[in-house]
C-alpha cells in the first residue's frame, strides 16, 4: 500500500508538472508570439482607437443605424454565457418569438403584400373577439396563466397597478378568497387572472401599458393606462391574432433574427438577416448624412455582400456576416450617428 501511495504521488506530481506547467506554457509562448491578436481575445479598436469589443463576441446594438445581432439569452454578458434552454415544446419559446415578430411582420401576398401587419393586429384587438368569443385579454390571461403572472411581476409599476385595481374593486379579492379557501391573502401576481378578466370587461379592446406622461414639473413619467394601440399589443397578441388568421400569407423572418444562440454571444447573423435589416439601416444613415437613400443603400448593400462569408468556404453552410465588423465599417464610412 505504501508503495502504491508513493508511486501515485510521483504520478500526480509528474502529471502536474507536465500538464499544468510545461504544456500551457508552451502554448502560451506560441500563442503570444505567433498569434498575439487571437491569443488575446481578438479585440478590435473603434474609430477613436479604443477597444470596442471582440470580433468573436456579440455586443448589443439598438440604434437603427446599425445591424442588430441575434437576440441573446445572456443579455450579451460575455462573463456569463447562457442559452435560453427553452424546449421546442415549451410555450414560452413560441411566445418569446411571437412577441419579437408582432411589430415587424409583413404580409407576403394578397392586396396588402409588403405592408406591416401591426395595424391590423391593433384593429382586431380593438374589436375584442377571439375565436368568436368576446374579451381577448381575459381569454389571453386564462389561456396563459404564466404569462399573465409574469406581466404582473415584470415591473413594479405593473404590480402597483394591479394592487390599486384590486383595492378599487374589493369584490375580486373576496371572490379569490372564496375560490381558494384557506389560502393567505393573495399577492398581486396571484390575482393576475381575475384582474385581467375584470379589466377586459371594463375596458374591452384595451390593455394596460406604460404611457410616457409629462408632469407639470417638466419631468416625464411612465404611467400604466388602458391603451388600444402600441408595441405592447402588437407583440403580446400577435400569436392570438395568428391563430385567428391562420391562412393569411405572411413573409417569413430569417430564423436567426428571432432565435437565441447557444452561447448568447454568437457574433454572426445570416446574410438573409442582414439583408432583411438593410432597408432600416440604409434609410437611417441616409437621413443622418442627408444623402440620397438609393445611393446609401447601394453602398451598404455592397459592404454587406463583401463582408459575407460561408463556413468552410461554403462547404458546410450558408453565408453569414460578422455584426461588429460590419458596424465598424459603417461607422468608419459615415462617422458617429448623431446623439
Amino acid at each position: 500500500m505504501a508503495g502504491n501511495i508513493a508511486k501515485s504521488l510521483w504520478l500526480l506530481f509528474l502529471s502536474v508538472v507536465v500538464c499544468c506547467l510545461v504544456y500551457p506554457l508552451i502554448l502560451w509562448v506560441i500563442g503570444q508570439t505567433g498569434f498575439p491578436f487571437e491569443a488575446n481575445g481578438s479585440l478590435v479598436n473603434g474609430p477613436d482607437g479604443k477597444p470596442v469589443g471582440s470580433l468573436l463576441i456579440a455586443e448589443p446594438f439598438t440604434r437603427d443605424e446599425y445591424f442588430w445581432p441575434r437576440p441573446s439569452a445572456a443579455s450579451y454578458d460575455a462573463s456569463a454565457s447562457a442559452s435560453s434552454t427553452l424546449a421546442a415544446s415549451n410555450y414560452l419559446l413560441r411566445n418569446r418569438i411571437a412577441q419579437a415578430l408582432g411589430p415587424i411582420v409583413r404580409y407576403a401576398g394578397g392586396p396588402k403584400a409588403g405592408q406591416p401587419v401591426a395595424p391590423d393586429i391593433e384593429a382586431w384587438f380593438q374589436r375584442d373577439r377571439y375565436h368568436g368569443a368576446p374579451h381577448i385579454v381575459a381569454q389571453w390571461a386564462d389561456l396563459h396563466n404564466e404569462l399573465a403572472q409574469a406581466w404582473v411581476g415584470a415591473d413594479p409599476s405593473h404590480a402597483a397597478y394591479v394592487a390599486g385595481w384590486v383595492k378599487a374593486h374589493p369584490e375580486l379579492a373576496a371572490k379569490w378568497a372564496q375560490d381558494n379557501p384557506g389560502s393567505a391573502a393573495p399577492a398581486p401576481a396571484d390575482l393576475s387572472v381575475v384582474f385581467f378578466a375584470d379589466f377586459s370587461s371594463r375596458y374591452p379592446g384595451r390593455f394596460p401599458s406604460g404611457v410616457a406622461k409629462q408632469l407639470p414639473s417638466g419631468k416625464t413619467e411612465t404611467i400604466i393606462e388602458p391603451v388600444a394601440t402600441g408595441v405592447d399589443i402588437q407583440a403580446t397578441f400577435f400569436d392570438m391574432w395568428r391563430n385567428d388568421h391562420p391562412q393569411v400569407d405572411l413573409a417569413g423572418v430569417p430564423a436567426d433574427m428571432v432565435t437565441t444562440s447557444g452561447s448568447g454571444l454568437d457574433p454572426h447573423i445570416t446574410l438573409d438577416n442582414a439583408e432583411y435589416q438593410l432597408d432600416r439601416v440604409a434609410k437611417k444613415w441616409a437621413a443622418d448624412t442627408r444623402r440620397d437613400p438609393g445611393q446609401v443603400r447601394k453602398e451598404i448593400q455592397q459592404l454587406v455582400t463583401r463582408s459575407a462569408f460561408a463556413p468552410m468556404g461554403g462547404l458546410f453552410g450558408e453565408k453569414i456576416v460578422n455584426v461588429l465588423q460590419l458596424n465598424l465599417e459603417l461607422s468608419r464610412r459615415y462617422g458617429r450617428p448623431p446623439a
Partner: protein
C-alpha cells in the same frame, strides 16, 4: 446544395477521423506495448513510476489508490481557490456539495458541470484542476482497456498501472493536445493568463447605463482557453472553460475549429477499437466491432440531423386541431377527452432547421452532428443547447448515453462493448446449444455474472435515481421546462452522469454556485450528491468487473477453433453484436424514451405557459 452542405459536414468529419485513426492506432499499440526506446530523461521518469509487473488485482488497487489521491487533490484545489494565485476577481469557494460533484465528475472523465466555468473558476483552478483531470482521467480508462487486452492475451501479469498512465498522458495525449492547441489559438481561442477585459461598446450605452451615469462596459472573460479545449476534446472529457462550452465563440471560434474539436473527440475512441485488434492480433475481429459501432454512430447522427436540421422547430409551425383521449391512471377504462385547438404557424423562415440554441458559424448541421457525436463517444461537450433540440432529435443523444458503447469514452466504451459482446456470444451459444466462447476460451458462470453485473449498473443508476427525482420535489422543482420535456431533463441528467458523459439539458436547476450564494437553486444539493455518487459508481464498477472477467477468461486454455466455433470476424457475428446491443438497450430504456422525448413529440406542442 443545402442537403449537400448538411450531410457533407458529418460525412467529412467521420471519414477524416477514420483516416487518422489508422496510423494513430498503430502508434498507440506501439506505445502501450512499450516497444519504443525512450530517451534518457523519460527512462528516468519511467523508473520512478515503475513498481513492477502487476496482476489484475494489483493493477486495480493501484488504479483505485491513484484515483483516491486524485479526489483529495482535486477537492483541495477547488476548496482553496480563494487563496490561490491567478484569481484577480477574487472568486470565492464553491459550495462543498458542488465541489464534491465537480471533483467526482472530473476524475471520472464525466465533466458534468454544476457550475459555470467563466463565472465560478479562476484560471488557477482551470489549469490545475480541470486540465490536470482531463489529461489524467482520460488515461485511466485507456489503461484499464490495455490491462484487459493483456489479460485476454493470456498474461497473468497485466502490466504496470503507473507506467501505463504515464505513457498515455505524456506520449499520447500531450503531443496531440499541443498540435491541436496551436491550431485552436490560430483560430482565435484565447491563450493568456489574464482573466478578463473591460471594453466599451461601439454604440455607447448599448449595454445600459451604470448608476453613476457612465456607459456600461462589456466584460470579456479570457484565459488559457486554447490549452483546455484540446485535451477536453481529445480525452472525451467535455468540461468546458465556459459555461456554454464549445458553443462559446472563444472556445470554438470558427468552422475550422469546430471541425477539429469534433474530430478530436472522435479520434481516440475510433483508434482504440483498432488498437484492440492490433494488440490482440485479431484485426479482422476489431474491424467487425468497428463497423458495428460505426453503423450505430452514423445512425445517431443521421437521426439527429434529420429531425433537427432538416425540420424546423415545431414550436413555431402550424398544428392542426386535435382531439386526445387521456386514459385515467386510477380507473380502468375511464378517459378524459381533451381538445387541442389549431395553432397558426409563425412567419419564420426555418430553412436552416431549428436555430434555437444554435451558433451560425460552424455550418448548418454542426449542432445536431455534434450533439450526437458528443454522447456516442461520451465526451459531453456541446456546441449547441441540447435542451432546445427538437423533441425527436433529443432522443438521439439519450440513446447514445444509454447504449454507452457507440465507440464510447476512452477505453470504457470498448470495455462496455465487450460486455455486450459476451452477452451476445452467450445468447448465440444458448440458441445452438453450445458452450459460449470468446477468443477460443469458454465463458463460464463466473464470467457471465461479472458481465451482467457490470452491464446492469448503468440502467440501474439511470432509472432508479430518475424515478426517485421525478417523483419528488428534488426533480419536479428543478425542471426548467413543462411536461414530458421536464421529465426528459431529469432522465438526461442521470444518463449523462451514469454514462460518464457530462452533457446536459441545461434547463435543470442544479447550480448552487459559490458557497456564500444567498439564492442557490433550492434543489442543487440533492442533485450534486446524487449525480456525484452515480458518476463514481458507474465509473469504477464497469471498469473493475470487466478486468476481473478478462483475467479469469485469459487464464483459461484457448481451444483451437473448429467447425462448431462461432467465428468472431464475420458478417454474421457483426449482426449478432448489433442485435444484442439494440435489443438489450431497447428493452432497458424504451419505457423512459416513451415517457420523455416520444411523449413530447406526440403530445401537444406548444405546451404549458
Amino acid at each position: 446544395m443545402r442537403s449537400l452542405q448538411v450531410w457533407l459536414l458529418p460525412a467529412s468529419i467521420t471519414l477524416f477521423t477514420i483516416l487518422v485513426a489508422f496510423p494513430l492506432s498503430r502508434y498507440m499499440a506501439w506505445i502501450m506495448d512499450g516497444r519504443y526506446r525512450a530517451p534518457r530523461l523519460l527512462r528516468w521518469i519511467e523508473a520512478r513510476l515503475d513498481s513492477g509487473a502487476q496482476d489484475w488485482k494489483q493493477y486495480a488497487v493501484s488504479l483505485l489508490v491513484f484515483n483516491t489521491l486524485l479526489f483529495v487533490y482535486g477537492y483541495a484545489v477547488l476548496a482553496l481557490q480563494p487563496w490561490m494565485p491567478l484569481n484577480p476577481q477574487h472568486k470565492g469557494m464553491l459550495a462543498p456539495s458542488t465541489i464534491f460533484n465537480s471533483v467526482a465528475s472530473f476524475m471520472t472523465n464525466t465533466n458534468l458541470q454544476h457550475y459555470s466555468g467563466e463565472v465560478h473558476l479562476s484560471n488557477f483552478s482551470q489549469v490545475f484542476f480541470v486540465i490536470l483531470n482531463q489529461f489524467v482521467s482520460a488515461s485511466v480508462g485507456l489503461c484499464a482497456l490495455t490491462a484487459i487486452i493483456r489479460a485476454f492475451r493470456g498474461a497473468s501479469r497485466v502490466g504496470n498501472y503507473f507506467v501505463d498512465m504515464w505513457r498515455a498522458v505524456a506520449y499520447l495525449f500531450l503531443p496531440a493536445a499541443l498540435l491541436l492547441g496551436v491550431l485552436f489559438v490560430s483560430q482565435g481561442a484565447p491563450m493568456t493568463f489574464a482573466s478578463s477585459y473591460q471594453v466599451g461598446t461601439l454604440e455607447p450605452n448599448a449595454m445600459g447605463t451604470a448608476d453613476n451615469g457612465q456607459a456600461k462596459a462589456q466584460t470579456l472573460v479570457v484565459g488559457p482557453v486554447a490549452a483546455e479545449v484540446p485535451i477536453m476534446m481529445l480525452g472525451t472529457n467535455g468540461g468546458g472553460f465556459y459555461g456554454m462550452n464549445e458553443a462559446h465563440p472563444y472556445a470554438n471560434p470558427t468552422a475550422v475549429s469546430n471541425f477539429f474539436v469534433t474530430f478530436a473527440m472522435m479520434v481516440f475512441p475510433f483508434a482504440l477499437v483498432l488498437m484492440y485488434g492490433r494488440m490482440l492480433g485479431r484485426r479482422r475481429h476489431s474491424w467487425v466491432i468497428f463497423l458495428v459501432m460505426l453503423l450505430l454512430f452514423v445512425g445517431t447522427i443521421g437521426w439527429a440531423v434529420w429531425f433537427d436540421t432538416l425540420r424546423g422547430n415545431p414550436g413555431l409551425t402550424a398544428h392542426q386541431e386535435r382531439a386526445l383521449k387521456i386514459a385515467s391512471a386510477g380507473r380502468a377504462g375511464a378517459a378524459t377527452a381533451v381538445r387541442l385547438p389549431a395553432t397558426g404557424g409563425l412567419p419564420v423562415d426555418q430553412h436552416l432547421g431549428n436555430l434555437e440554441g444554435k451558433e451560425l458559424r460552424f455550418g448548418t448541421s454542426a449542432g445536431a452532428t455534434f450533439g450526437a457525436v458528443t454522447v456516442d463517444v461520451t465526451c459531453g461537450a456541446i456546441n449547441c443547447e441540447q435542451d432546445s433540440l427538437n423533441p425527436l432529435a433529443g432522443l438521439s443523444p439519450m440513446v447514445g448515453m444509454w447504449l454507452n458503447c457507440i465507440f464510447g469514452g476512452k477505453g470504457v466504451g470498448m470495455i462496455n462493448l465487450l460486455l455486450f459482446l459476451v452477452i451476445g456470444v452467450f445468447l448465440a451459444g444458448q440458441m445452438v446449444g453450445r458452450t459460449p466462447e470468446y477468443l477460443g476460451r469458454k465463458i463460464g458462470a463466473r464470467e457471465m455474472k461479472l458481465a451482467v453485473v457490470a452491464l446492469l449498473v448503468h440502467p440501474l443508476l439511470i432509472l432508479g435515481p430518475s424515478g426517485l427525482f421525478a417523483a419528488t420535489a428534488w426533480g419536479q422543482k428543478a425542471e426548467g421546462n413543462p411536461g414530458a420535456h421536464g421529465f426528459s431533463e431529469i432522465v438526461y441528467q442521470f444518463s449523462s452522469a451514469s454514462a460518464n458523459n457530462g452533457s446536459a439539458f441545461d434547463g435543470l436547476g442544479v447550480t448552487y454556485g459559490f458557497n456564500d450564494n444567498p439564492n442557490p437553486s433550492p434543489e442543487a444539493v440533492p442533485w450534486d450528491l446524487a449525480t456525484g455518487l452515480v458518476m463514481l459508481f458507474s465509473r469504477y464498477l464497469p471498469i473493475l468487473a470487466p478486468m476481473a472477467l478478462a483475467a479469469s477468461l485469459g487464464l483459461k486454455k484457448a481451444a483451437p477453433s473448429g467447425l462448431g466455433t462461432l467465428r468472431d470476424d464475420t458478417f454474421t457475428f457483426g449482426c449478432l453484436l448489433f442485435g444484442t446491443i439494440v435489443i438489450v438497450g431497447a428493452l432497458l430504456f424504451m419505457p423512459v424514451a416513451a415517457l420523455g422525448p416520444l411523449a413530447e413529440h406526440l403530445g401537444p406542442i406548444p405546451f404549458g405557459g
